[in-house]
Amino acid sequence: MAYETFSTRACASTDEAPVALLSVRDLRTWFHGGSTVSRPVDGVSFEIEAGQTVGLIGESGCGKSLTALSILGLIDPPGRIEQGSEIVFEGQDLVGLSERDLEEVRGQGIGMIFQEPMTSLNPVSPVGAQIAEAVLAHRRVSRRSAWERAVEMLRIVGIAAPEQRASSYPHELSGGMRQRVMIATALACEPRLLIADEPTTALDVTIQAQIISLMAELQERLGMAILLITHDIGVIAQVADEVAVMYAGRIVEQGSAATVLDGPEHPYTEALLASVPILGTRADTGALRVIPGTVPSPLAWPGGCRFRARCEYAFGRCAEEEPALLPAGGQAAACWLCESGSRHATAGERHVV
């Protein structure tokens, strides 16, 4: 009575024309510490449409998690979202929104799950209560109702004996179950967008697969969009529609998952993919390909292209000017090599497999 059922939602989305559910434009999240400024998120732009799964991929420390936290306004001083950043969710700019209004959006419009399910759950509170809390934050229902909803959510995420389980404490559950609880909590109010920050990194490989398929299934049922943040390319390949590759605080490549993963334009993406050995190919038995050098520091991004120091194709222009995202084939890449379209369309010797 107080909230919609799943089925009605799923039907509604297919009739609408695709309008960006979330539009992030030039997001800059900087940290001001005394005399230094750190810029871990330095001009990130992407869009997510309703029902879509967008993967945000990159190494640890490239600013992916901070991007997610920025969207929800969970950046605490000394960090802040800089002026000029725009995060438009369902037509409303979240930047500069009052804390009260942001709290409305969190959990109800946008849900989020985190990497470490053990520490992300309150250790002294039963899991059912934590889910019910999310419900009570956004709906005017009785505590009994909220608890029933919590049990229902536990059932939906595939936890057996949910009535009993709801009274368990987090440390009594396995890692996979805890992550399911997190998912239950995040989806309790049926948000239109789920941000998943490294949801499977802390889990065993077998459980990973279960969680991913659970998320896909729930997405289908709820008709929601997912922003999947991870450094695991395998997961992206499995579920993502669109992909954005992040490096040094910026998006360096963007496009549909199929085109980007099959034919990466940006040298970084290419190197990333090449370093993942595929069973049965020559890469499997030889030495792992490695990207030389290290990620530059967010305290002092280098001038020109930020990937230049580690790029095997770097040439003069790379040091002078930083490339914007240039259209290349079916995707977009921030590389001067793509100035005239896709790299692969030109001379074959540049095509590296």
């Binding site: 000394p78 050995p277 490695v290």
Partner: protein, 311 residues
């Protein structure tokens, strides 16, 4: 281990970055080594104020003979209970002794006693802690139980108990507080040993047949510096107050030794006749304690990871 290896093959992250941080030099938790202390001094105003106060006190004690023409023990029955004047800046006590010189020489007593007490506690405690942490097993349990038992005895009560047997005196108080302080140091050192023991390079050293004892000592020392200093400042404060408390009860330093607490012991009955006697020793004690507390707290707050600026 194998699960971790198979996970690695999927991670673009791990395979892409060639340079892993090298781990050869003794690992220092940020802020615990000598450099951390210097930074703390530079950054924390609390620490600076504390250092200022403590240094002033030490100077006062050191230079006491030069700062006053009177001796702290000279009795002058013609001039008892004089209020502060040009001749006696802080007045005189019930035996005509100059309050100011008693105060200055009293600094010596308190500070020296503090240092001695802390030294006893630190040396005995650190040794016990190292043994407990390294030996483990029965020795560890035994030592820790003893530490708990000592910890169970409030220091003041321990001192009272010792005094009830041996009679009052400054040495007794010292020993009592020294013993009372042992558990703090023992726990600290034991904790450090246990933590460092689990670090990979120690296990590696052991696996290679080397002696982990030397490795542990080498790595403990730099890391233990700041916690040791913090514990010591706390301990100094406690010993000084403890000594003063017992002095106030007449059970610590015996006359004619000028001791701040003892100087206060008659003041209660003299609210009316000589209230100035009440203020100066008390303020001196407070300054000493506050000085040490500021240093210790400032350092401790500095080590606090949450308060550190974003790096």
């Amino acid at each position: 281990m194998s699960a971790r290896i198979t996970k690695r093959t999927h991670d673009a992250d791990e395979s892409a970055t060639a340079d892993a941080p090298q781990r050869s030099a003794p690992r220092r938790r940020i802020g615990t080594g000598p450099r951390g202390i210097v930074t703390a001094v530079r950054r924390s105003s609390n620490v600076r104020i504390g250092l200022l106060i403590v240094t002033a006190l030490f100077m006062a004690g050191l230079l006491a003979p030069f700062l006053t023409p009177y001796s702290p023990t000279d009795i002058d029955l013609a001039n008892t209970l004089q209020p502060p004047s040009a001749e006696h800046w802080l007045g005189t006590d019930e035996l005509g002794r100059d309050q100011m010189s008693r105060l200055l020489f009293g600094a010596r007593v308190s500070l020296v006693m503090g240092l001695l007490g802390v030294t006893i506690a630190a040396s005995a405690g650190a040794t016990l802690g190292l043994i407990a942490g390294y030996a483990g097993g029965f020795a560890d349990s035994l030592i820790m139980r003893a530490m708990d038992a000592i910890f169970a005895f409030p220091a003041l009560l321990l001192a009272l108990l010792v005094i009830s047997i041996t009679g009052p005196g400054i040495t007794q108080v010292l020993i009592a507080f020294g013993i009372a302080g042992i558990p703090f140091y023992a726990r600290l050192m034991r904790g450090m040993v246990l933590a460092i023991r689990q670090e990979e390079y120690v296990i590696a050293a052991e696996a290679l047949g080397g002696s982990p004892a030397r490795v542990i000592l080498l790595h403990i020392l730099p890391n233990a510096m700041t916690p040791l200093i913090i514990t010591t400042t706390m301990a100094m404060g406690l010993v000084i107050v403890g000594l003063a408390s017992l002095g106030f009860l007449g059970l610590g330093a015996q006359p004619p030794t000028p001791e701040w607490g003892a100087m206060l012991s008659g003041s209660q009955s003299r609210f009316f006749t000589a209230p100035w006697l009440l203020l100066s020793p008390g303020i001196a004690i407070v300054m000493a304690v506050v000085g040490y507390a500021l240093i210790g707290d400032g350092l401790r707050d500095f080590l606090d990871p949450r308060l550190r600026e974003y790096r």
